[in-house]
C-alpha cells in the first residue's frame, strides 16, 4: 500500500507544485465540470514530475494517488461515470488555488448574485420575527448567518474586481490578430464587438448593477444597499448597535467596490470605439505590460534576493537605448603655483588642525537644547560664545553656511536656534579683524525637514593678508 500523507502534508505537496492543480482547475472550467477525471489528473501529474528526481517523483505520486487524496479528505467524493472515475475536490482546496492564480478567478454571474440577494431577503424576513434576545440561540444563529453571508459576498466581489481589472488581457487576446491586419480588421470588427459586448454583459454589467445604489431591482424589490439599511435599522431599533455598526462597515466596503468596476466599464467602452490603429496601440501596450508583470511577479516570490526586476531579458528583446547611462566626467584639479595659492593651503591646514584640537566632549549637563527655561538656555549660549571666541575664521562669501557646517559637526542636538545665537553674537563682535556684511542674496540650509532661508553674510578681512 502506498504511503498516506496527512491532510496538511498533502496540501503542502500540492502547493509546492501548484501548476498541477492550476492545470486541472483550468480543464474543469473549460468543460464546466466540477469534477476531474482521475486519468486526466494522472496524466497532468506525470507531465510535471518528469524533470524531478526519483525520490521526489515518488513523493508526488503518493500524494496525488486517489486513495491518499480521499483519506486526507482533499477529495470528498468519487463519481463513477461511463468514461471513468471522476474526483470531486473540496471546494475550499480549489478556492485556495484559485486565490493564488488570478487567471482562474471565477467571475460572478448574474445568477449567482441574484441567489445571494435572495438569501439576504430571506434573512431580512426572518429578522422580522426574531426575538433579538442574547439568550435565544435562533437569534444568535441568524445574526451569524447574516454576517457570514455579507463576508462571503464581499470576498466574492473583491475577487471579481481583480478578475475584471485584467480585462485588458482579455481584450488583447480577443483582438490581437485582427488589430495586426488592416484587411482583416473591418470583418473582425463586428465579431469583436459582439464578443466584447458579451463579456461586458455577462460579467461586468451584473456586478455593476448589483452595486449601483440607485438601481431598483425587478419586482420592486429593494437592492443590496436598501436591504442592508433595513437590516441595520432592525438591529438599531433593538439596541444591537455593535451588529448594526458591523453591517454599516460592510455597506461602506460594498460602496467602495463600485468605483473600480466603473473604471473597468469605461475601459471597455473606450476600447470598443477604437480604430484599428488605436486597438493595435492598446494591444501592444497590453502585451508588453504583461511581460513586465511577469517579471514583476518574480520579485514577489519568497526569495529575498529578487527585490528588483531582472533587466537583461526585457532589454535584450526590446533592444532600445542599450548602454545608455551617466558617465563620470574627468575630475579636475585646480593646482596653482602662486604664493597666494600656497599660503591659502597652509592657512587651511592650520585652521583644520586647530579645529580638530579644540573639539571637546559635550559640555552640557542635560538636554539644554530643548529646555526652554532661561537658565539652561543661558548655559548653552555661554558655551556657544566660548566656542565662537576660539574659532578661527577666513574670508568667506557665506559665513552662515560655514557656521552651520561647523556647528552641526560639533554641537550636540544642534538646532537652528544655536545658529541664530551664533550669528547674532558674531554680528556684534568688534574685537576681530573681520567685517560681517549682509548681502541681499538668499540661500537656504536644512536640518531634517526644517529649512532656514537666509540672507548670505560675507566675512571680509579689514586688514590685508600679509600681516601677522
Amino acid at each position: 500500500m502506498k504511503k498516506h500523507f496527512s491532510t496538511i502534508d498533502t496540501l503542502k505537496i500540492l502547493l509546492d507544485y501548484p501548476r498541477i492543480m492550476y492545470q486541472c482547475i483550468e480543464k474543469m472550467d473549460q468543460s464546466n465540470d466540477r469534477l476531474i477525471n482521475e486519468s486526466v489528473l494522472a496524466v497532468v501529474v506525470r507531465q510535471h514530475i518528469e524533470p524531478l528526481d526519483t525520490i521526489e517523483q515518488k513523493r508526488l505520486l503518493s500524494a496525488f494517488d486517489t486513495n491518499n487524496l480521499t483519506s486526507a479528505n482533499v477529495v470528498s467524493d468519487i463519481d463513477k461515470r461511463d468514461d471513468g472515475r471522476f474526483l470531486l475536490f473540496q471546494e475550499s482546496v480549489l478556492t485556495i488555488f484559485r486565490l493564488c492564480e488570478a487567471s482562474l478567478y471565477k467571475e460572478v454571474t448574474d445568477a449567482k448574485l441574484k441567489s445571494r440577494m435572495a438569501s439576504l431577503w430571506d434573512a431580512e424576513n426572518r429578522l422580522e420575527s426574531a426575538t433579538f434576545a442574547e439568550n435565544d440561540p435562533d437569534y444568535i444563529e441568524l445574526t451569524e448567518d447574516i454576517t457570514e453571508q455579507l463576508g462571503q459576498l464581499l470576498s466574492l466581489l473583491r475577487n471579481n474586481i481583480i478578475a475584471m481589472e485584467r480585462i485588458g488581457e482579455k481584450l488583447e487576446s480577443m483582438t490581437a490578430e485582427a488589430s495586426r491586419s488592416p484587411e482583416k480588421f473591418p470583418q473582425y470588427r463586428q465579431t469583436m464587438f459582439e464578443k466584447t459586448t458579451h463579456l461586458f454583459d455577462r460579467h461586468i454589467k451584473p456586478t455593476l448593477t448589483f452595486l449601483d445604489p440607485k438601481v431598483r431591482l425587478l419586482g420592486g424589490k429593494s437592492n443590496l444597499f436598501d436591504t442592508l439599511k433595513s437590516i441595520r435599522d432592525k438591529y438599531r431599533v433593538n439596541n444591537k448597535n455593535s451588529v448594526a455598526d458591523q453591517i454599516l462597515r460592510y455597506d461602506i466596503s460594498f460602496s467602495n467596490a463600485f468605483l473600480p468596476i466603473q473604471k473597468v466599464e469605461r475601459q471597455v467602452d473606450h476600447f470598443l470605439r477604437k480604430t484599428r490603429v488605436g486597438m493595435l496601440q492598446y494591444n501592444a501596450m497590453e502585451a508588453n505590460y504583461q511581460k513586465l508583470r511577469t517579471l514583476y511577479n518574480k520579485t514577489t516570490t519568497s526569495n529575498l534576493k529578487n527585490r528588483f526586476m531582472d533587466a537583461s531579458e526585457f532589454c535584450a528583446s526590446s533592444k532600445f537605448a542599450l548602454g545608455l547611462k551617466q558617465h563620470t566626467r574627468p575630475t579636475c584639479y585646480q593646482f596653482g603655483e602662486s604664493i597666494a595659492y600656497f599660503e591659502n593651503i597652509f592657512a587651511e591646514i592650520e585652521l583644520r588642525l586647530t579645529l580638530i584640537n579644540s573639539d571637546h566632549q559635550s559640555l552640557f549637563s542635560s538636554d539644554s537644547y530643548k529646555d526652554e527655561s532661561s537658565g539652561k538656555q543661558l548655559e548653552r549660549a555661554k558655551i556657544l560664545y566660548e566656542w565662537l571666541s576660539n574659532q578661527q575664521f577666513r574670508s568667506t562669501k557665506d559665513v552662515i553656511h560655514v557656521l552651520h557646517n561647523r556647528l552641526s559637526e560639533w554641537l550636540e542636538e544642534y538646532q537652528f536656534t544655536d545658529l541664530l545665537t551664533a550669528i547674532i553674537h558674531l554680528s556684534h563682535k568688534s574685537d576681530w579683524e573681520y567685517n560681517l556684511i549682509t548681502t541681499n542674496q538668499f540661500s537656504y540650509i536644512t536640518i531634517d525637514d526644517e529649512a532656514f532661508i537666509y540672507r548670505r553674510r560675507k566675512l571680509e578681512q579689514t586688514v590685508s593678508d600679509n600681516n601677522e
Binding site: 556684511i437 542674496q441 538668499f442 529649512a451
Partner: protein, 122 residues
C-alpha cells in the same frame, strides 16, 4: 488678549459669508511677552485671522525668532551712500524665514538669478 477675541467676534458679525479678513496684530517690543506663551499664542492668533507683526531689539531670544518664523533684520542692511543723513537703511526683497524643506527647495528657483548688490556696514 480679551480685546483680540472681542474684535474677532465683532468682525465676524459684519463679515460677508465666505470671505476672509486677516488683520495684522502689531506689537512693539516682543520680548515683553514671555516665551512660554508663544506656543499657545501664535496658533491662536493665526486661527483667529490675526498675523503677528512685531519689533524687537537684538536682545530678543533666538528661540522666539524661530517660533515666529519670519525675520527682517533691518539694521543689518545699510548703505554707505545714503541720500540723506540718518537714512542709511536700505532693505528689500523679503524676510529670512524658517519653513519646511519642500517650500525652501521650491523657492530656490528664485534664488537662481540674484543680482549682486552689495551694501556696506556703516
Amino acid at each position: 488678549m480679551i480685546n483680540l477675541q472681542l474684535a474677532q467676534i465683532l468682525l465676524n458679525r459684519i463679515k460677508k459669508e465666505g470671505s476672509s479678513v486677516v488683520f495684522p496684530l502689531v506689537h512693539d517690543e516682543l520680548a515683553d511677552i514671555s516665551i512660554d506663551q508663544f506656543d499657545w499664542l501664535l496658533p491662536h492668533l493665526t486661527k483667529n485671522d490675526f498675523r503677528l507683526f512685531s519689533a524687537a531689539t537684538y536682545s530678543v531670544s533666538p528661540e522666539l525668532i524661530r517660533k515666529v518664523g519670519n525675520l527682517h533684520e533691518i539694521g543689518s542692511m545699510r548703505t554707505s551712500r545714503a541720500y540723506s543723513e540718518g537714512r542709511t537703511i536700505v532693505y528689500w526683497k523679503g524676510s529670512e524665514k524658517f519653513t519646511d524643506t519642500t517650500s525652501a527647495k521650491a523657492s530656490n528657483v528664485i534664488f537662481a538669478e540674484q543680482s549682486e548688490l552689495e551694501l556696506a556696514n556703516s
